[in-house]
């Protein structure tokens, strides 16, 4: 049954400073675009009762360059990512991933910060950020810290964030090499990924998979094999040993392993 709204409490913040002061003083679950939070609410699986609405914080919506680093505010929606010329130029794989998130309605509200914080192993932006060696910028009233995405997740739907912190931005240094993204789901729009992969074809390739493990994963042994000049057949074998996919309602582990190997081969063929 849907969560009873009358039991819920919402505060709204009109500046980041105010939001962080509220989180310093009381535990509240942030609401950005609400596309994950409200699905949980409608399913009746929403556990928190107290929320902090951060949707109005326009200061978290900018996309900019700081020196050579691309800085994407956490409230940036998929629609803004798709429309952004700098993102298109610097991180085309993120544009590709954004186009495949839900339909237009979801792209208009879903945010990159929400995708990162939600910490679903199927989050489509996460392999892109992992392959790009992105840094997640989190801030609390006490200060700011920068966490490489590969160290951000500690387990299934668990992150290093503390309850008083908000994600304020995602930083991405220039990515050298051809970028590639593929999502395998049941249909193009709206499907939760069965396997999702992002890759960067550089002398030392960077490859990240989503939906095959409790968190997004890089595959360092496979990357090293390919970087050292292994054939794609050998690299596929390395990958098969390196990953330990999961069984769930959407697919079997064996299916995911096979698809991951095929995707690696595709990535290599199409970026060569």
């Amino acid at each position: 049954m849907r969560t009873a709204i009358s039991e819920l409490d919402l505060r709204s913040a009109s500046s980041l400073t105010e939001a962080l002061a509220i989180l310093r003083d009381e535990a509240r679950t942030p609401i950005a675009g609400a596309t994950d939070v409200y699905v949980a609410l409608n399913f009746g699986t929403l556990k928190p009762k107290r929320f902090l609405d951060i949707w109005a914080l326009d200061e978290l919506r900018s996309i900019s360059l700081s020196g050579d680093t691309l800085v994407i505010g956490s409230l940036t929606t998929y629609t803004s990512l798709i429309q952004s010329p700098i993102v298109g130029e610097r991180l085309p794989m993120l544009v590709e991933a954004s186009r495949l998130v839900g339909g237009v309605q979801i792209q208009n509200r879903g945010t990159i910060g929400g995708n990162v914080a939600n910490a679903s192993p199927a989050g489509d932006a996460l392999p892109v950020l992992a392959a790009a060696d992105a840094v997640i910028v989190v801030r609390s009233d006490a200060g700011e810290r920068r966490v490489p995405i590969t160290q951000f997740y500690t387990g299934y739907r668990a992150t290093v964030m503390t309850p008083d912190e908000l994600i304020v931005a995602v930083e991405i240094a220039p990515v050298e090499g051809k970028q590639w993204f593929r999502k395998v789901g049941t249909r193009a729009a709206q499907a939760i990924s069965k396997v999702v992969v992002a890759g960067v074809r550089a002398p030392m390739p960077r490859i990240a998979f989503g939906s095959i493990a409790p968190t997004v994963v890089r595959v360092p042994e496979t990357e090293r094999a390919l970087g050292d000049g292994a054939t794609i057949d050998d690299a596929e074998g390395v990958l098969a040993r390196e990953i330990a996919p999961i069984d769930d309602i959407r697919s079997t582990a064996e299916y995911r392993r096979r698809v991951s190997m095929n995707l690696l081969r595709r990535f290599w063929a199409e970026t060569g």
Partner: protein, 154 residues
Amino acid sequence: MTLRFVLNGAKTELDAHPMARLLDVLREECALTGSKEGCGEGECGACTVLVNGEPVCSCIIPVAHVEGAAVLTIEGLGGDHPLQHHFMNEVGAQCGICTPGMIMAAMALGPAPTLEDVKTALAGNLCRCTGYAAIYRAVMKWRGLEAPPSMVAE
């Protein structure tokens, strides 16, 4: 909270729980029942309305998010909109549950859309009845585009 927003062109002020779903406020407080609830989880698009011109699923939006915004529902088109007539002429509506959401999603199409653009704009809207061709045809005729022969009704 007292909520102020522009609903179908009219300044509106009402009391609502800030976390009430926009869909419920529209249907139950504003008596605008054109927006439908299909899935209640953002998947089907039957509840699509425009917020500041952008299609959103009103079943997964807290009403607090439309404070100060302009909301347009199917009722706001007035009942005699050209796209509504194209839906009728092409039989783009059968049971009709998806129709208000389809029409609102189509409203956000840019100028001179291609068939691909139409499909992308409507990718978040499900229809169980029509098989989509009639819907695409209605939208394309509205925008003055020729529907490909494969999509023309027998």
